[in-house]
């Protein structure tokens, strides 16, 4: 792996008339990395990937690949390839012809094209007999694999993915997520993946970038984005979360209008006073059986109980707002709606989001 950035974006802007779809994006992606860009629809992630593959022109800024500017290079001259959301498999060609398409463009001889296509069918765990099948005879998951094989036949420097799994059902999606991760490991290629699904991002990626309204909010590994988000947006985007308005004093002690804490509870001192949000994920909130079981405690009537399969979610209406608690099914409590419950969490499971920064 190289230490200098492999793919780097500097001050990338894309506007459509008065609307700024991408606002000064800076981004470095390492060689061989599985990098995922996550964001809600309209966050600009699809616009970004279209710029990266060369299907749209940027308004300003630059994109470099191995220190060579590529933003002026048209899509058909860039050493990158994309797997489309619709997969874009050519319906008038067979599976084999689809996979061989990029090789045919490079004027490879038919024998070598065929050999490579069969090799790729093996790699993607499709039977070689699929070579002569029509695209319409393939299932959703098989089409996914054909699209991947075709992109790999191109042998790109970077493989881009534009939400290719979003149309599949849950089980198949889970299987393919793992296969993609495995394929990434086996091919050693750089994968840049776009999705609106946080779960997909967390399962597969080395690093994740979260986008919001044309800007990147946070770039980090999955654990850090989940456990230490930089903003309310990231915290809420990354799943269920409890957030409380607090002020943290210079020595780390927490004061809040809504939250009562055990005396002497301190966050890691920030050095100066800061206002912000104290975050705790629902799985770290527990039922307080004794008064001093947790650093922070609150109580209120049970508002609702939801079964989420392996986990159970409780919503409790406390003076600090609605608090969400998540427990494994085996730790389920028998409670009825409206019953008063006391819950709490410990300071080491919290994260402070400084809203000034």
């Amino acid at each position: 792996m190289n230490s200098s950035p492999f793919l780097s974006l500097r001050g990338v802007v894309k506007s459509f008339g008065n609307f700024t779809a991408l606002d000064r994006i800076d981004l470095d992606i390492k060689e061989g990395e599985f990098f995922t860009i996550v964001g809600p629809s309209g966050s600009g992630k699809s616009t970004l990937i279209r710029l990266l593959v060369g299907m749209d022109d940027l308004t300003s800024g630059e994109i470099r690949l191995r220190d060579q500017r590529i933003d002026d290079t048209p899509a058909n001259k860039r050493p990158t390839c994309m797997v489309f959301q619709s997969l874009a498999l050519f319906p008038h060609m067979t599976v084999g012809q689809n996979i061989e398409f990029p090789l045919k463009l490079r004027k490879e001889v038919p024998d070598r094209r065929r050999a490579r296509a069969l090799e790729l069918l093996d790699l993607l765990r499709l039977p070689q007999s699929y070579y002569d099948k029509r695209i319409s005879q393939c299932s959703g998951g098989e089409r996914q694999r054909v699209a991947l094989a075709r992109a790999l036949a191109f042998d790109p420097e970077i493989l881009f993915f534009d939400e290719p799994l979003s149309a599949l059902d849950y089980r198949l999606r889970k299987t393919l997520e793992k296969e993609l991760k495995d394929l990434h490991a086996r091919t050693g290629k750089t994968f840049v993946y776009i999705t609106h699904s946080l779960e997909e991002a967390m399962v597969m990626s080395d690093r994740i970038a979260i986008m919001k309204r044309g800007k990147i909010e946070q770039i980090s590994v999955a654990d850090e984005i989940y456990g230490a988000p930089v903003s309310r947006f990231v915290a809420e985007f990354m799943g269920e979360v409890n957030l409380f308005d607090v002020t943290v004093a210079a020595d780390g002690s927490v004061s809040s209008d809504v939250l009562s804490s055990r005396s002497g509870v301190k966050l890691v001192p920030a050095g100066e006073e800061a206002r912000g949000l104290l975050m705790v994920r629902p799985e770290y909130v527990g039922f307080a059986d004794t008064a001093d079981a947790f650093d922070f405690t609150m109580s209120g009537p049970l508002h609702g109980e939801y079964a989420l399969g392996s986990r159970i979610q409780y919503e409790i209406e406390t003076p600090a707002g609605m608090v969400t608690v998540e427990k494994l099914r085996e730790d389920r409590r028998t409670v009825s709606e409206g019953e008063t419950m006391t819950v709490g969490f410990n300071v080491e499971n919290t994260h402070f989001i400084d809203e000034a920064s």
């Binding site: 593959v53 874009a88 398409f101």
Partner: protein, 270 residues
């Protein structure tokens, strides 16, 4: 839901009646063409194929067929070229005047053909162009190109733009994308548009009447002979024209079938 026995029987009889209503007149033309008598009267007393023999030998007939065929072939080719690019502009690309274009292109279909023919004739006259079968080609194109464009556009609408982008992304230039992706995917639309263009031109009367000048197409001649100088050559040529159209449709089907078979054969050996 399965229709009851009664419903099915009623529908069957209704269908037969409809088909009889539509095609019996054609059958009567067929009978007229094989009658030996000079004037049509039923029942036919003596059957004969003499008029077909005369048709094949007549130099007028071969001239008529040649004119009609020339017009139809040129119209088909030119309208297909226009329709291909027009359909892409109509259905695939976002551009500033697309909305206006989509409406304007339909306009000629809404004009009565006689009005359109008259207008074109006056236009040719004012430009000092002497009408021949070539001006008829222009007239037919004005009316047929929109139809061909619409037929190809329907196909173009069901076309995922990502297919072209994907081909481009894998290194294909503009011409390669056109040849490898756009053209093959629009081909079924182009075949049916070509068929329509040919048949509409082949059978067109009002536009030809105004714009062929001294030349005459088959429908024009049929009409002229009906008005004065009827002979059983009229129904004979009518039937020949219908059979010709029918053969063309068969030919088109055969072509599509051959293309498919050829592709499969190529795939198998590739």
């Amino acid at each position: 839901m399965k229709a009851s026995r009664l419903t099915r029987n009623v529908l069957f009889v209704y269908g037969i009646l409809m088909i009889a209503f539509l095609y019996l007149p054609l059958v009567s033309v067929g009978f007229a063409s094989v009658s030996q008598a000079r004037y049509l009267s039923f029942p036919i007393r003596r059957y004969s194929t003499k008029w077909y023999g005369e048709a094949f030998e007549s130099s007028t007939v071969s001239e008529l067929l040649l004119t009609s065929l020339s017009v139809a072939v040129v119209v088909t080719i030119v309208s297909l070229v226009f329709a291909f690019f027009g359909a892409l502009a109509f259905a695939r690309y976002q551009w500033r005047f697309r909305n206006v274009f989509q409406k304007l292109i339909l306009l000629p279909i809404f004009f009565p053909q006689t009005v359109l023919g008259l207008a074109l004739l006056m236009w040719f006259n004012s430009l000092g162009i002497i009408p021949t079968w070539k001006t008829a080609v222009v007239a037919h194109l004005v009316w047929i190109t929109p139809i061909a464009t619409l037929i190809v556009a329907i196909r173009a609408y069901s076309f995922d733009p990502a297919l072209e982008e994907a081909a481009r992304d894998m290194g294909a230039g503009t011409l390669t994308v056109l040849r490898e992706i756009t053209l093959p995917l629009l081909m079924p639309g182009l075949v049916s548009a070509g068929l329509f263009a040919f048949l509409l031109s082949w059978g067109n009367f009002p536009l030809s009447l105004f714009t062929t000048g001294a030349d005459s197409t088959l429908p024009e001649w049929l009409y002229a002979k009906m008005v004065s100088g009827y002979s059983p050559l009229v129904p004979t040529l009518g039937i020949m024209s219908v059979v010709g159209s029918f053969l063309l449709i068969l030919f088109a089907f055969a072509l599509v079938w051959l293309m498919r078979a050829n592709k499969e054969a190529r795939t198998a050996q590739d």
